[in-house]
């Protein structure tokens, strides 16, 4: 009797633990992360020049184009030139690009810090390329893949999420794009008009944890 009771308790405990795990797994999928209008966290992440970068460093910025990206993912690579072009177009207007590599370098050595430096130099990145050391930032944003863009608008000391998604509607060929989601969103923010499309989906490489 006593043994049965103990066993029952153990089973209950096991059940409770597994239930908790299931809930946690569930939460860590797309339930977490920012929605449009949420306040985004600032961060202090290491840049490829070995300095640390925070959003609050940019006193004059009106906002940011935060791009979770990496070295190895072909979708990220396909967008590199377009990310550089975004920075060139919008940095002077108050919306600089901040690139963050969220991948675990142990899982993907081509995404390690040294290779980030090499890739940034090869491509001539004009923006910070930060490493999400310990992978604490991307889950808060809710990024699931690379590339994954968050446009933030500065409001007093807060950073408000205004757009989540992909850069445009053709990852294969920049010449065939006819919907410039990120450009249109930043231009709308600069003009003080409604952002035409606030959320989009795109294929990307799952973030390696």
């Amino acid at each position: 009797m006593k043994t049965t009771y103990k066993f029952g308790l153990l089973a209950l405990l096991a059940f409770a633990i597994s239930a908790f795990t299931v809930i946690n797994n569930f939460k860590s999928s797309d339930e977490d992360g920012y929605k449009i209008g949420d306040k985004a966290t600032d961060f202090k992440l290491k840049n490829i020049d070995d300095t640390y970068v925070s959003l609050s460093d940019y006193k004059d910025a009106k906002g940011f184009i935060v791009v979770f990206t990496c070295n190895h993912c072909p979708f990220s690579v396909a967008y590199e030139d377009r990310i550089i072009a975004l920075d060139k177009e919008f940095k002077s207007k108050g919306y600089p690009v901040i690139a963050i590599n969220p991948n675990n370098p142990a899982k993907y050595p081509s995404d390690n810090f040294e290779n980030m430096k090499i890739r940034a130099k090869e491509k001539g990145f004009t923006f910070p390329y930060l490493v999400d050391e310990g992978q604490h930032i991307f889950p808060q944003y809710g990024a699931t893949k690379t590339p994954h863009v968050y446009i933030l608008e500065k409001s007093a000391s807060d950073f408000i999420v205004k757009y989540i998604g992909t850069l445009d509607n053709n990852y294969q060929d920049a010449a065939k794009v006819d919907k410039y989601y990120v450009k249109d969103a930043v231009n709308a923010l600069l003009d003080g008009t409604e952002i035409p499309v606030k959320e989009t989906k795109a294929i990307g490489c799952s973030i390696k944890v």
């Binding site: 993907y108 973030i207 390696k208």
Partner: protein
């Protein structure tokens, strides 16, 4: 035989460069038949269809007694390749079970000849592989599943009564447990 379907204008544009070069190389001056809307490239073992979403859609909504497993992957996607053995094993064990596996590759059009076909041949990959080449992802990703953020690997398991979507990796046991629910 490798047959690459070319009946969509977007696809036609995208593939024109590598296909033209390859076809010219293989068949010399012979004009591919326009009537067939299909360009046939010489090879002995592999057939790859390249579809846009409208052409893929019917694979995702069949109404019969079979359970379909649709895995979205790419040769360069490490976790996708890591989970392939589970799908290969499932495929090998289908036998008389009413199950069907389809591997939907998201390899870029210019990677099909250089990467995808050599990968299939080297691995002797048995399940059917088709290429989904449709750049307007924002339109078709939510149609595959509203739950999909767009990251791969991703897998859809469905029959006429039920549909489950997973934006995560599988191992063999998890795949079997999932199939038991159908």
């Amino acid at each position: 035989m490798i047959s690459i379907k070319e009946n969509h204008p977007v696809l036609l544009n995208m593939k024109i460069s590598y296909l033209n070069i390859f076809i010219l190389f293989i068949i010399g001056c012979k004009q591919p038949s326009q009537k067939a809307e299909e360009k046939i490239v010489n090879s002995k073992t592999t057939t790859i269809e390249v579809l846009d979403y409208s052409e893929l859609a019917h694979h995702l909504e069949k109404q019969n007694d079979t359970t379909y497993v649709i895995n979205f992957w790419a040769t360069w996607c490490k976790p996708c390749v890591e989970e392939l053995p589970a799908f290969e094993k499932m495929h090998a064990e289908i036998g008389s079970k009413k199950q069907k596996l389809l591997l939907v590759s998201l390899d870029f059009p210019n990677q099909i000849e250089k990467q995808l076909i050599p990968f299939i041949k080297k691995r002797n990959l048995q399940p059917e592989v088709i290429v989904l080449s449709d750049p307007d992802t924002n339109t078709w990703i939510p149609k595959v599943s509203p739950e999909w953020s767009g990251a791969i690997p991703a897998t859809l398991v469905y029959n006429k009564n039920k549909k489950l979507f997973f934006e995560e990796s599988f191992d063999y046991n998890k795949l079997q447990n999932t199939l038991k629910q159908f």
